[in-house]
């Protein structure tokens, strides 16, 4: 098992008072909490800080931690032989026989808390206890989000022995992600969290969905947006274009006189939102001009300019005099 310097993580001395530990934690929580911080590794940092505080704020856990000894951060170590007997209720025989290599320090203290919960509290020890809820981040592509997908999650779960020992076991979950999920959405997989105890229900698994950006489509709620570049003559005369949509290519009729910035709506071609139906796909018109024009084409443009009485800035005169 690798040693974690909880005092170092919180930036306090080993002899720090409870108040000093609390202040240090609050300062770091303010800095690294994922709800507050935009720093790159904020979530990982906050987990470390939170784990250190969970142990050091509790006098009993802190004493147990101190009794482990002092090592370098990340150094391999084993708890002293009598450590489990001293701190795990009921003698904690599981802590003596357990190989510590497959768990980490936070598991060890979770094991202590679990053993305490089982050994203490009289009748509470046998009452049904719901399993813990798990949370996992699921990263999927835009296409997977649009069509729905199946994902295999390889999680690692803590499991307690009847004798108070704790170990990590693989927890594999196959789940179907419904179509139309969006970035940042949360989903629940009922009963796929930790095992309940004494007949208590199993916990749930909560999924945080992260959807990768798509080079063509932009998502806004259940609506999608795609840029539709048109040549000037296509915008003026109207045209039909083959427009890619996530469900396949469609022919879009662009009416004559279409302006830049106009949104052409393709009803029901957006993201599916369950009972609410599908959103729309909007083609956002952009007028592109050729960067290279030969002499013959320039002549045609000049003829057009000479023959047209269209004034693109007519509103300037009107608005400026107001």
């Amino acid at each position: 098992m690798k040693y974690k310097d909880y005092y170092g993580i919180l930036g306090v001395k080993r002899e720090a008072s409870g108040d000093e530990i609390k202040t240090a934690y609050r300062k770091l929580a303010r800095k690294f909490h994922p709800d507050v911080s935009k720093e790159k590794d904020a979530e990982e940092k906050f987990k470390e800080v939170s784990e250190a505080y969970e142990t050091l704020k509790d006098a009993e856990k802190r004493a147990a931690y101190d009794q482990l000894g002092t090592y370098r951060e990340g150094q391999e170590f084993r708890p002293p032989p009598d450590w489990g007997q001293q701190y795990a209720p009921g003698g904690g025989s599981g802590f003596n026989s357990r190989a510590f290599e497959d768990i980490d320090l936070s598991d060890l203290f979770a094991g202590l808390a679990g053993a305490r919960g089982r050994a203490g509290g009289g009748p509470r020890a046998n009452r049904p206890m719901p399993g813990s809820d798990y949370e996992a981040v699921v990263r999927i592509s835009f296409d997977q989000a649009f069509h729905g997908t199946e994902v295999d999650l390889e999680l690692s779960a803590l499991e307690w022995d009847p004798d108070g020992g704790v170990r990590r076991v693989p927890h594999r979950v196959r789940t179907r992600i419904p179509r139309g999920v969006t970035n940042g959405e949360k989903l629940r997989v009922p009963g796929k969290g930790g095992k309940g105890a004494n007949g208590g229900p199993d916990g749930d698994l909560y999924l945080d969905i992260e959807v990768a950006d798509h080079p063509l489509y932009r998502v806004s709620g259940s609506d999608l947006y795609i840029d539709l570049p048109l040549a000037p003559w296509e915008a003026v005369l109207g045209t039909s274009v083959e427009l890619p949509t996530p469900a396949g290519t469609v022919t879009l009729k662009v009416p004559a006189g279409t302006r830049a910035g106009q949104q052409l709506r393709l009803s029901g071609r957006g993201m599916m939102r369950g009972a609410a139906g599908a959103g729309h796909l909007y083609a956002l018109v952009r007028i592109e001009v050729p960067s290279v024009v030969d002499d013959a084409q320039k002549d045609l443009y000049r003829q057009l300019a000479d023959s047209s009485n269209f004034d693109a800035r007519a509103h300037f005169v009107k608005e400026a005099s107001r």
């Binding site: 929580a29 949360k186 997989v189 932009r218 806004s220 999608l224 369950g274 009972a275």
Partner: protein, 104 residues
């Protein structure tokens, strides 16, 4: 061994969760949930009903409340204030995303 597949379900306005489900899944105490309802941070379907039920989307808010309560050691009133700021930020971010999507 073949692992059976299970559907992941959305939190939406259609599905309902009971009072007990909300309390259990959020990790908040019954008193804390009651207080958050009093402050308007959680809204039951029918506040005058003898037993409250909630749209399932409130489960996400309740879990967020529980995390804020635990991580920042806030009391329920402070949690309700932070939640209202968080909701405002989320709605502004959604507006920003919509504008970005429209602008390209």
């Amino acid at each position: 061994m073949i692992t059976p597949i299970q559907d992941a379900v959305r939190f939406d306005t259609v599905t309902e969760v009971t009072w007990t489900q909300l309390v259990t899944a959020s990790g908040l105490t019954e008193d804390e949930v009651t207080e958050l309802v009093q402050y308007g941070a959680l809204v039951p379907r029918d506040p005058s009903a003898p037993t409250w039920t909630f749209e399932s989307r409130w489960l996400v808010v309740a879990r967020h409340a529980s995390r804020l309560r635990h991580d920042f050691e806030l009391d329920p009133h402070a949690v309700s204030v932070v939640l209202s700021f968080a909701e405002r930020i989320e709605s502004l971010e959604a507006e920003l995303r919509a504008l970005r999507a429209q602008l390209g």
